[in-house]
């Protein structure tokens, strides 16, 4: 029956479980924003009789192998996770000089772009984990979901705190945080991140039980609020003439429009979460035709990369301006 394409489907696997929510028979691909890796087991009691996670993929098995490092032994996935997780620190790193020198001008001008865009990047990386599990069948990188979620929260809090202190809007701290509708959207997102951050650990998951999973679906609400935030922040890109949000002359008005970047990234992340799509992928995997899945998904992934590159581009340029404390107000 099932093939052993990537070492996950075995002949012992009951046919009744061929169509799992997770194509490869892995655990959940459900999307908690700040899910700790050790706290993935969220099956309901009635599902306890279902088979446990399918055999690990070959890559997962390879990643679990330990090697000697100094005086201790660490798993191969540890350095890989560190390497993949490090970029999430970059937005905070960009703001470090301004924090050390208490440069209020840099905070006032560019913290929104540097940390706000950083939070957006971390959110997308956090949301990217599930589709990648769906497509690759590998789970070794799932702990990154929690890490990116934490860094998203850190960037969002930093953005909100700096905006509350340094923005020029009237109405005191609350006015600066929520005095305009787009700010209110951002403020709500920050508020929604708090319970996710506080409960993104095994202890909270045990305590919350069946309520933990619905609570962590708040990440989808944050995802939606981000769209509203960006629409209200810059509109649809036609309001400022031919150059989107920037000054004249860079020639890429559409690519620099944050809403379009967001949309380009979100299509892939959304479609790969739809149950019918996941079932189709599972079926293709069962047939041993993963090439069809890859070919079909490639344009969506390309669109994601297309949008993501420009978000990262924005982060690097604004971040470097912040780092050198010559913030750009573009």
């Amino acid at each position: 029956m099932a093939r052993n394409t990537v070492g996950r489907w075995t002949d012992e696997r009951p046919a009744a479980y061929d169509y799992q929510e997770v194509p490869y028979g892995g655990q959940d691909t459900y999307e908690p924003g700040l899910t700790p890796s050790a706290a993935i087991e969220t099956r309901q009691p009635e599902k306890a009789s279902a088979p446990k996670r399918a055999d690990k993929s070959r890559v997962d098995e390879w990643m679990e192998v330990e090697f000697k490092f100094g005086g201790s032994r660490i798993k191969r996935k540890a350095p890989a996770l560190i390497l993949l997780g490090l970029p999430a620190l970059v937005p905070l790193f960009f703001m470090l000089p301004a924090l050390v020198t208490l440069n209020s001008n840099t905070f006032a001008v560019s913290v929104d772009d540097t940390l706000g865009t950083g939070a957006e990047i971390c959110l997308f990386l956090c949301l990217l984990v599930t589709p990648m599990v769906t497509l690759t069948g590998q789970r070794w990188f799932v702990p990154l979901r929690r890490w990116y979620g934490i860094m998203m929260a850190a960037c969002a809090f930093g953005d909100a705190i700096a905006a509350g202190i340094t923005d020029n809007f009237a109405g005191g701290v609350f006015g600066r945080l929520a005095g305009h509708v787009f700010e209110l959207m951002g403020f709500i997102m920050v508020m929604l991140v708090i319970p996710l951050l506080l409960t993104g650990n095994p202890w909270a998951q045990r305590k919350l039980g069946k309520y933990w999973k619905p609570l962590h679906r708040l990440i989808y609400v944050i995802w939606g609020f981000l769209a509203a935030h960006l629409i209200l922040l810059e509109g649809f890109g036609f309001e400022r003439g031919s150059n989107g949000s920037g000054f004249a002359g860079d020639g890429d008005p559409i690519f620099h429009q944050r809403l379009y970047q967001y949309s380009a990234c979100s299509v892939f992340l959304l479609v790969l979460r739809l149950p019918p799509v996941k079932r189709w992928i599972a079926a293709r995997h069962k047939e041993g035709r993963m090439w069809l899945v890859w070919v079909t998904v490639l344009p969506l992934f390309a669109l994601f990369v297309f949008g993501f590159i420009f978000i990262v581009n924005e982060e690097i340029f604004k971040g470097m301006d912040s780092f050198t404390e010559h913030p750009s107000g573009e």
Binding site: F247, G251, A283, K286, F306, S328
Partner: protein, 223 residues
């Protein structure tokens, strides 16, 4: 995301997924292709946007307010106008003293040397060099971050105008050398003997100044 239907695994149940994926992927493919086509026009749009904003393309710094021709001309005028007025005064004084007061005439010539030297230095600070470009970028960036207008000092000359400005500086340095030599004359006769050569050197300077004024589309300074 959970569904009762999971685990049943019929072909019909994957049909919806196939349709969703095909449609969304097709749209994504179209968008990516459109994006790539759009990206090929980036250069042309850049030029058009720069021209529409009156920016000097060679002075454009991505993401920052641009230097316009008007700014460039204004900065040049801000340098050349006071220098020309000062020189006219000093030349008028020299014309009075060249036949009767050697010391006063030499002092006038020395003053001319100082004025010409200051003019050359100011002009050199506007040329298109890596140092000047970095200084201009810093000024523009500071103005942008503080929300103030871009200062005139941030406007430097284009590479084309810089070539003329460098010729002007060279011609002016020749004049300065001649004036300094003239200022060391031992007699009024010797002093006046330089006048013709000084006039020729001045004419060379005037020629370059007219070329710059033409390139910047600004009126040449009087005198």
């Amino acid at each position: 995301m959970t569904s009762e239907t999971y685990g049943m695994g019929s072909q019909e149940q994957t049909g919806a997924g196939r349709v969703i994926l095909m449609v969304s992927s097709s749209l994504a493919a179209l968008l990516v292709i459109a994006g790539l086509i759009y990206a090929t026009g980036t250069g042309a749009r850049h030029k058009a946007a720069v021209a529409a904003a009156g920016c000097e393309p060679s002075l454009f710094i991505s993401g920052m307010p641009c230097t316009t021709e008007q700014m460039m001309a204004s900065r040049y005028e801000a340098i050349v106008t006071p220098a020309t007025q000062q020189l006219n005064t000093e030349m008028a004084a020299y014309a009075v003293n060249e036949r009767r007061d050697l010391a006063a005439a030499e002092a006038d010539l020395s003053a001319e040397v100082v004025t010409e030297q200051a003019f050359d230095n100011s002009l050199a600070a506007t040329t298109f060099t890596p140092q000047n470009r970095a200084a201009a970028a810093a000024l523009i960036q500071n103005a942008t971050s503080s929300g103030t207008p871009v200062p005139l000092a941030a406007a430097i000359l284009t590479p084309q105008v810089t070539a003329i400005a460098e010729a002007l500086i060279q011609a002016d340095q020749a004049l300065v050398t001649l004036l300094a030599e003239q200022a060391r004359s031992a007699s009024l006769t010797q002093l006046r003997s330089f006048n013709h050569r000084v006039q020729v050197a001045s004419a060379a300077v005037q020629t370059e100044m007219k070329l710059i004024a033409k390139a910047l589309d600004s009126p040449p300074p009087a005198g």
